[in-house]
């Protein structure tokens, strides 16, 4: 099937199917509805196949007469149920408990990005505060750490903060039960989080500012409002006229509270932004301003009311400085240090001007033209449903489609699982501090003492803990003391506006210069969140979840020259087929796509009027088909912009027969098993057959599912499982030079019809070859046979191999020289030895067959050659070094668990993925397991939820005439139920023109993953040392480019923007990773496997592999804990990966993604050993312990719930190793402590010095 998803010839493929119209019209609404409705659509589609198949589509836009019918019929159908379901499904929030922190986090993150780099600490921190209890003083402790900037701000944004907080409190939210006080959380969090960005000012403040104020205002009742105002009068630079202000208040308070609760993101921000968009009406002209001022400074209201509106309408271009938030402007303007009021006003005006302009260009009429009231009502309606649906219980992650069908807001809310976001717990918290500051300035001043200038440079006094009082995080956030000292107290801060302009050099938080060599604890104590693109609220809320789609630069540079100057990699990290708990599924006759570039309609297109939309990738103006005018969500006509396609950046379409080149294939599984002596000895067959027997019914598929088995040693054995046989029949083919299929029809059999025979075979298989003396392995011929068997249908081939293939085509020689394992010089043989497997993989890929490789071997098996069979056929690779079912139980357990996941996870067949991006950008290199069929089309024979991809981008044409760029991946696949589906993700990012903005928007995790992918390529194509040099150079180049262009501090110190502060650490971690390390003994297969994983793991898992998380678990406390399914999950802070953090008195958990280590110190508290490990003392802990006993003690419960929670966050449940201090296994654990020095590699500090040296050169 060639490019059904997108080739230009298929441009017309979205044609309307008149025959489908009647029955499936309901499908337009049915998407996420109940199952029966859902199945209607697909069934229809299948029936269409014969006719639609191969016929060239006629015309894109159907005749209007017919189209009119569509909606008409739809309405006549019993839609009520559907729509009801749709509502609740679409915006359903999985669990209250989980969601609460989650949503807020997301939100917080969304705003926070503008301000500063270390996103995690701030926003996350803010959550627990309100979450647990607004008054919990405990968290104030943390806050001190992150104060330096926020304190500065206090005096202007303080009032806002204060009001927000006080309103929350005064309304009496029961803040102590976190999962309950939903609305409190959202209210409180908004202002507090966005708040630090104010001082940071610069290009980021603006929208955030809005949101902050808005959220602050909303919950506030009129009374409290005014009282606060009087209490905290604050000379604002630009207060609006009272009338305006009043209006604004009105409109804001018009929002119903529920709309802010739980799923705040979908609906409420919308409102706010609408207000923005409605900027043409005088009342709304200056929402930011009005709101801000109304809150903070009623007294000085009348300064320059009229000024802003004229500017709004005139100034359009808006340099980056023009984006400054009004207040921040005064303080922060980094370059200009403008103090003249008039100029300020100008700038401010420009800011709005640009904002408005943005809005206008991105989503003009429909959004802004509708009157506010109307929309609010709708919003409220939705919101009401939102909040009601939050009560539904947590839906565990479904693997089946049925469970997925309930559409929903993409998945912001979904898994605390895969996102690093979820835990809001113990955190340096910016918010609490500002809150008390307003009334009690003295409190705030304290934390600032921790600025590093007064400290010894961290690395010189190694062991001594720098900060008493249990604030592990404080130095990391201490920032610049000089600033903080300038404005130690509230009084001073609020004294004069003139003083503000002194701080001209403050930059957004993500640009805050960090002195790497002096910042001792660079690692934040909570997982790092993805930075949120600096978009306006409307777009931000619609944007694709960073779990599915991330870009290394969240601010796209305008030109290639700028990108080159920044010396940062530009690329996308994709996880397109991720398990989602909420996914809007759309069944529609017409899938609306751009007629020229075939982009799917998405939230970032602009509607020119009701009937036309403008593509956001190629800017072509397209017609809105008639059917699209009807909105199943609101059951109303004429609101194309409210359709779920336009409200969600992750959607799934049920595709019609136009998207098929052949009828959807059934799920076909073939197992190719090595049964040579070596394999039988290792004993994997027992585990495999057992797993298969257990999961036979859970294999994804429908009634057509087929399954087959092939075993091989020096000959190839087929199994005839045809229904009606009394027992499985084994057919042996010994002619391995010219393999043929003995009975082509009966080798792949229907799973349901022949279930008994299959079970018989699985029961017999482990014992069939026990006495074999055959040591040879004819893998190549077996694969050829498998290919022949599969080629009529396509499907999945699972190959189990335990040694080097030694017979027939594709035989391999041992290439590894064990003496070279720890060589520091050349590592050879990283590339494949033969092209046999590559050719085979391409053949398979052409026949929609993917080959998954399970390599269970004790010696070298040339994984680099064997892996090719999976790499290019979009399979996956599993490797179990020194596997033995009895001698190596942990590997056996791992195989068992991974098999379970492997067999039951979702699967998509005959898939293609196309990635599109805005004109001007182009993709040039792809990473992952697939075959690139044409420039932007990846051919994926199978797609599984654990596959990640990376794409490198370049900027071909200057992006000066656009302010936003979009990326869209469309994954067209056949589900295991035989439906053709298209999953579409769209990501929208802003374009910036200054280097500083580019640095401010770096997503360091994405960048490191992309670099890792590039380094793998490099080490295979040239050499490992080359790749290592390139990695180091990546750091050196970007940091030196930063210090020479953006930072104006002296060059003798190693300065990084805060957004990049973890860059050197991660690169060092990469250099010490199995894939790239030198000097440490690394088996070639291990190294190659690590490289394979880098290439095909999604970002979340890859990051854990590169930089594991270390937690101290012997003193878990409930403070900051989150609640998941009525379970309390403690959230211990992250420790840096250094032996310095390990104390003999403690026990530590290291989360390496696919494996957990619990390191128990020698003099660890006996209580812990008894209560958690169930052993009387340290000495009695067994050497190989892989499970924690279920003890009925509090600490055991906490530990287990924490580990379970970590496990639930990922698809594979990792194996747990308990490592005693001074046991031989501890090297396994210690090799992950990447900040420490090893005999062959730098410590982190040495590495920094090395970089500094390189930069100075």
């Amino acid at each position: 099937m060639s490019a059904p998803a997108g080739s230009p010839q298929r441009a017309a493929s979205a044609r309307m199917q008149p025959r489908l119209g009647g029955a499936a019209a309901s499908g337009a609404a049915a998407g996420p509805g109940p199952a029966p409705r859902q199945q209607n659509g697909p069934a229809q589609n299948q029936m269409q196949i014969p006719s639609g198949y191969g016929v060239y589509p006629q015309n894109y836009s159907a005749p209007s007469g017919h189209c009119f019918q569509g909606p008409g019929k739809m309405t006549s159908l019993p839609l009520d149920d559907q729509c009801g379901d749709y509502y609740s499904g679409l915006y359903a929030v999985p669990t209250q408990n989980v969601v609460t922190p989650k949503t807020t986090n997301q939100q917080a993150g969304a705003q926070q990005i503008y301000g500063r780099a270390p996103p995690a600490p701030h926003n996350v921190g803010s959550t627990p505060e309100y979450f647990q209890g607004a008054a919990s003083s405990a968290s104030h402790l943390y806050t001190s750490a992150s104060q330096p900037y926020s304190s500065l701000v206090n005096h202007y944004s303080g009032p806002a903060m204060y009001s927000a907080n006080s309103s929350a409190v005064s309304q009496g939210f029961p803040s102590t039960c976190g999962h309950y006080a939903v609305s409190t959380v959202s209210n409180a969090v908004y202002p507090s989080v966005s708040y630090p960005s104010l001082p940071a000012g610069e290009p980021y403040g603006q929208q955030m500012f809005t949101s902050q104020n808005a959220s602050t205002v909303r919950p506030v009742r009129d009374n409290s409002f005014s009282s606060q105002n009087t209490a905290l009068s604050h000379p604002s630079p630009l207060p609006p006229p009272p009338s305006q202000q009043y209006h604004q208040q009105q409109s804001l308070s018009g929002y119903s509270t529920p709309s802010w609760s739980a799923s705040g993101p979908p609906s409420t921000q919308d409102n706010l932004v609408r207000n923005h968009t409605g900027s043409l009406t005088p009342a709304n002209n200056n929402p930011t301003n009005t709101v801000a001022d109304s809150l903070s400074c009623p007294v000085t209201q009348n300064v320059q009311p009229p000024k802003s509106s004229p500017v709004v309408s005139t100034v359009v271009s808006g340099a980056s400085s023009a984006r400054l938030p009004p207040t921040a402007n005064h303080l922060v303007e980094p370059v200009a240090s403008v103090t003249q009021p008039s100029e300020l006003l100008q700038q401010k005006g420009m800011q709005y001007g640009e904002y408005v302009n943005n809005q206008a260009s991105s989503a003009p009429t429909p959004l802004s033209s509708t009157s506010d009231d109307e929309e609010e009502e709708e919003e409220d309606e939705e919101a009401g449903i939102d909040s009601s649906s939050t009560t539904s219980s947590a839906s565990p992650l479904p693997n089946s489609y049925d469970a997925l069908e309930g559409g929903g807001y993409p998945d912001m809310l979904s898994s605390s699982a895969s996102s690093p976001a979820p835990d809001p717990a113990p955190e340096p918290d910016p918010t609490p501090a500002p809150v008390p500051t307003a009334p009690q300035p003295s409190k705030v001043a304290k934390p600032f003492g921790y600025g590093y200038p007064t400290l010894q440079p961290g690395y010189q006094n190694t062991a001594a803990p720098l900060h008493p009082g249990g604030q592990p995080c404080s130095p990391a956030y201490s920032g610049f003391q000089q600033y903080t000292q300038q404005y130690p107290g509230m009084n001073q801060l609020s004294s004069s506006l003139g003083g503000l302009s002194l701080q001209s050099s403050i930059q957004p938080e993500s640009l805050r210069p960090v002195n790497l060599t002096q910042e001792r604890n660079i690692l934040p104590v909570t997982p790092i969140l993805a930075p949120i693109p600096n978009l306006n609220l409307d777009l931000k809320k619609l944007n694709c979840s960073p779990d599915s789609f991330r870009c290394t630069l969240t601010n796209i540079p305008q030109t290639q020259a700028l990108l080159t100057k920044a010396k940062l990699p530009l690329g996308l990290l994709l996880h397109p087929f991720r398990d989602l708990t909420q996914l809007p599924v759309i069944t529609s006759n017409t899938i609306v796509r751009c007629r020229s570039c075939r982009t799917y309609i998405n939230p970032f297109v602009s509607f020119i009027d009701q009937r036309r939309w403008k593509c956001n990738l190629c800017y072509r103006v397209n017609d809105v088909p008639e059917e699209f005018m009807y909105n199943p969500l609101t059951r109303s006509y004429g609101e194309p912009h409210k359709r779920p396609e336009v409200q969600n950046s992750t959607v799934e379409f049920i595709a019609s027969s136009d998207y098929m080149l052949r009828p959807p294939q059934p799920a076909v599984y073939l197992f190719v098993l090595d049964v040579s002596h070596n394999a039988v000895e290792a004993g994997y067959l027992t585990i495999l057959c057992q797993s298969l027997l257990e999961n036979l019914d859970k294999l994804p598929g429908d009634s057509r599912t087929r399954i087959g088995f092939v075993t091989f040693d020096s000959t190839i054995h087929f199994y005839n499982l045809q229904e009606g046989l009394s027992q499985p029949q084994m057919l042996i083919v010994s002619d391995i030079d010219d393999v043929f299929l003995p009975t082509p029809d009966s080798l792949l059999v229907n799973l349901h019809e022949s279930k008994e025979l299959i079970k018989d075979l699985l029961n017999a298989l482990p014992n069939m070859f026990t006495n074999t003396r055959e040591t040879h392995s004819a893998l190549g011929p077996a694969l050829q046979a498998a290919f022949k068997l599969m080629s009529p249908t396509g499907g999945r081939v699972s190959v189990f191999q335990t040694q080097l293939p030694s017979l027939g085509a594709g035989l391999l020689q041992s290439r590894e020289d064990p003496n070279q394992r720890s060589s520091t010089k050349v590592v050879q043989h990283l590339g494949p030895a033969t092209d046999f497997y590559k050719k085979l993989a391409l053949d398979c890929s052409g026949q929609q067959t993917a080959v998954d490789l399970f390599l269970l071997s004790s010696q070298y098996s040339d994984l680099s050659s064997l892996a090719c069979m999976s790499k290019y056929s979009a399979g996956c690779i599993y490797y179990y070094p020194s596997f033995h079912s009895t001698h190596n139980p942990s590997q056996a357990e791992k195989l068992q668990k991974e098999l379970k996941r492997y067999l039951t996870r979702k699967i998509g067949f005959e898939a293609v993925m196309r990635i599109r991006c805005t004109k001007g950008l182009s993709m040039h290199t792809f990473h992952g397991n697939f075959f690139v069929r044409s420039t932007d089309l990846l051919s994926l024979a199978n797609i599984n939820p654990d596959a990640g991809f990376a794409v490198q981008l370049s900027i071909e044409e200057s992006l000066t005439d656009t302010s936003l760029v979009c990326f869209q991946t469309a994954l067209l696949y056949t589900s295991s139920k035989g439906e053709r589906r298209i999953r579409v993700h769209t990501l929208c990012l802003p374009v910036v023109s200054s280097l500083a903005d580019v640095y401010a928007g770096v997503d360091v995790q994405a960048a490191i993953c992309l670099l890792a992918n590039m380094a793998v390529d490099r080490s295979i194509s040239t050499s490992l040392s080359d790749a290592r040099d390139a990695l180091v150079n990546a750091v050196v180049d970007s940091l030196s480019a930063y210090s020479s262009t953006v930072s104006n501090l002296q060059h003798s110190v190693l300065i990084a923007p805060s957004s990049l502060k973890l860059f050197p650490l991660y690169v060092l971690a990469l250099l010490k990773q199995k894939a790239f390390r030198t000097g440490t003994s690394t088996r070639l297969d291990d190294r190659v496997y690590a490289m394979c994983q880098i290439k095909c793991q999604p970002l979340v898992h890859l990051m854990k592999m590169i930089h594991p998380n270390l937690y101290r678990i012997d003193r878990l406390i409930d403070e900051g804990a989150i609640h998941v399914n009525d379970r309390v999950v403690p959230q211990p802070p992250l420790q840096k990966l250094s032996a310095e953090k390990l104390t003999r008195e403690g026990a530590f958990l290291m989360d390496c993604g696919c494996v957990f280590y619990i390191w128990v110190g020698k003099s660890c508290d006996n209580n812990f050993i008894e209560d958690v490990l169930g052993c009387p003392n340290f000495a009695s802990i067994p050497q190989k312990m892989t499970h924690l006993p279920e003890l009925d003690t509090l600490s055991s419960e906490r530990t287990r719930s924490f580990i379970t929670w970590l496990r639930d966050c990922r698809p594979l449940s990792p194996v747990l190793h308990v490592v005693k201090d001074e046991s031989p296994a501890k090297t396994e654990f210690f090799q992950h402590l990447i900040e420490d020095r090893t005999e062959a590699a730098f410590s982190y500090y040495e590495f920094l010095l090395h970089i500094q040296q390189q930069i100075c050169k």
């Binding site: 060639s2 490019a3 590339g831 030895a833 391409l842 290199t925 690139v932 044409s934 420039t935 089309l937």
Partner: protein, 139 residues
């Protein structure tokens, strides 16, 4: 004798020119998505060795017939051809590998290479033509 050498070179050069054009057309087909990478690469890889032989032959012929200038002119290109052929990694399917041709701008560099070769062969063509006529006149 000299005329014969140049007549042969001329014919060989024509063949090489056609080959370069074929390379360019096929690569641009791939660029425009008219054929897929697999078939493009297998088409092109077939012609790598003929091209190599054809060009090496002319180069050697020039060496043997003591036309130093033309030999030196041809030498770098011949060396590049041989180098490229030898340096193909063992796992690749030839100079053009379908799995890598879309990566790291390989397609573009292949295209550029084919263009340069076309120019070079055209230059040689006229030189051979000139030399041939000169040789014929001298005879």
């Amino acid at each position: 004798m000299e005329a014969v050498v140049f007549v042969f070179s001329l014919l060989d050069c024509c063949a090489l020119i056609f080959l370069s054009v074929y390379f360019i057309i096929t690569l641009s087909d791939l660029e425009c998505d008219y054929i897929n990478a697999r078939s493009c690469c297998s088409k092109l890889n077939k012609w790598i060795i003929p091209e190599l032989i054809g060009h090496t032959l002319v180069t050697l012929l020039m060496l043997v017939s003591l036309h130093w200038f033309i030999f030196l002119l041809n030498l770098p290109v011949a060396t590049w051809n041989i180098y490229r052929f030898i340096m193909v990694p063992s796992g690749n399917m030839g100079v053009f590998d379908p799995t890598e041709i879309h990566n790291r701008g390989q397609l573009k560099s292949h295209m550029k290479e084919a263009m340069i070769k076309l120019g070079f062969h055209l230059l040689c063509f006229f030189m051979y033509l000139y030399s041939m006529i000169l040789a014929l006149i001298n005879d």
